[in-house]
Amino acid sequence: MSIVINHLTFAYTQGGKPLDPTLKDLTFTIEEGSFLGIIGHTGSGKSTFVKHLNGLLPCEKGTVEVDGHDLSQKSERKSVRALVGMVFQYPEYQLFAETVSEDVAFGPRNMKLDEAEVKNRVINAMTMVGLDPEIFSERSPFDLSGGERRRAAIAGVLAMHPKYLVLDEPMAGLDPLGRREILSLLEKLRTESGCTIIMISHSMDDIANHATKVLVLDQGSILMYDTPQNVFSKADELQQIGLSVPSITKICVEMNRRGVPIPVTICTEDAFLNWFREGRQHA
């Protein structure tokens, strides 16, 4: 199963008139179990694109199919919203209930699950994100620290057991510790529950370290859709559209400029150090 995007084009309207398209003829497939990193300049259409994955924005031209559910059918949207979990930027701003457990239960209750199952899922989701249910269940979400609030909000999405988890800059504004916690949570979700992760991020280092595929959007079109190694090896092209590359890629580029032929497909610390360990062969 997978998410199939076929010739998706979308334009916002202003005063009844369509503006220039934000998304232009996107066609690609997100494989189940992958970790997709989406990168692009602010305004490249990243956030608009992910809103199509659960029908928050209508498919006017082209189609999006999630596990065979065609999102251009309005009736399919509800079932897809249970399949595709969405974590928006600063998700802690959506917390509203009196207690953390009530808030986490909001999604499962909307799915009309029975109370025992809801309770079960709440406990599991809270444990998953590292908020001990014993301690945090009855606390007000507004009394938590920034990092805890963020994780409570993510638990609210996880409790719906999404097969695909979409996150729009989930680490924005967190301190280094908070960022590490979120990233390891995502890795755990993918390896243990087989959840497909789709993450928009500005941090090229994080993308290089975690993504299996990278989608590069530029002015609403796909510029690249490839492995991180292949995407980041095209540092010049990325810099041309105002994107940076991972720190390791930067070092490799600088080394090449000084006559050391290290492959520029190296974009993680491990790969970089391995190149040294394995006798510095070039590609």
Binding site: G173, L177, S247
Partner: protein, 272 residues
């Protein structure tokens, strides 16, 4: 220019102090970065510089004035400009130039002089073309530069940035950092609170905070020598620094100043 003398601060209802016995002197024209994880006390420290918070014990002296003296507070706030994290929540009016004028208007400055200051401040952050724009049409980075222009219009001597880059995208962050460095070159004393270690490589001095105390202090080269201490304080050194350390343990004799990709490559290549 700024002097913290045995400053301890405890929030009401808090069990432990947010700052414990801080001694700190910042000289005129210095660019100092304060780093630390959330709750380390770095923002609390910043809010002491312009008297938004007053020490429970000890004193803070700015340009010869004590922040605890209420009569001096307005003068201190004119000398110390402060930019905050959320670009949206610090702009007061709808139109860019009117927002920049807000500070000088509060000081009762004469209208023609305000006009001159506003134009100069906007030019200084490279936003002159946006003078009559509506604030909510700007990007985060642009809003933050407007916030800084609003501060510059007060003609301060010290600029305090309280995690001003935290909510910006990389381009916005670069724009902001470039603006701040430019102001520093023109003579501004800068105190920058941040969680991003990468942003600190160009500073004169880095102060690392943990549990309300200063745990490490020195030039970037000195501070990044102690990656273990940084990790203990829940900070992550720039990837370049951790690569440098790993290469060192593999036997490559790299110097302390290999902090950016370019510097590292320059040190490393001759060794290969």
């Amino acid at each position: 220019m700024i002097e913290f003398d045995h400053v301890t601060f405890q929030y009401e209802k808090a069990l432990t102090p947010a700052l414990t016995n801080i001694d700190l002197t910042i000289d005129k024209g210095e660019f100092v970065a304060i780093v630390g994880h959330n709750g380390s006390g770095k923002s609390t420290l910043a809010k002491h510089v312009n008297g938004l918070l007053l020490p429970t014990e000890g004193t803070v002296t700015v340009c010869g004035m004590q922040t605890s003296n209420e009569d001096d507070l307005l003068r201190i706030r004119q000398k110390v400009g402060m930019a905050f994290q959320n670009p949206d929540n610090q702009l007061v009016t709808t139109v860019v130039e009117e927002d920049v004028a807000f500070g000088p208007e509060n000081l009762g400055i004469e209208p023609n002089e305000i006009r001159t200051r506003v134009d100069k401040a906007l030019a200084s952050v490279g936003m002159s073309d946006y003078a009559t724009f509506a604030v909510h049409h700007l990007s985060g980075g642009q809003k933050q530069r407007i916030a800084i222009a609003g501060i510059l219009a007060l003609k301060p001597q010290i600029l305090v940035l309280d995690e001003a880059s935290a909510m910006l995208d990389p381009n916005g962050r670069a724009e902001l950092l470039e603006t701040v460095h430019k102001l520093h070159r023109e003579g501004m004393t800068v105190l920058m609170v941040t969680q991003y270690m990468e942003e600190t490589t160009g500073c004169d001095r880095i102060i690392v905070m943990n549990h309300g105390k200063i745990v490490l202090e020195g030039t970037p080269e000195e501070v990044f020598r102690h990656t273990d201490l940084l990790m203990e304080s829940n900070l992550v050194p720039p990837e370049t620094v951790s690569v440098r350390d790993a290469l060192r343990s593999m036997g490559y004799a790299l110097k302390d100043r290999s902090l950016t990709a370019e510097q590292l490559a320059e040190e490393l290549c001759p060794l290969l």
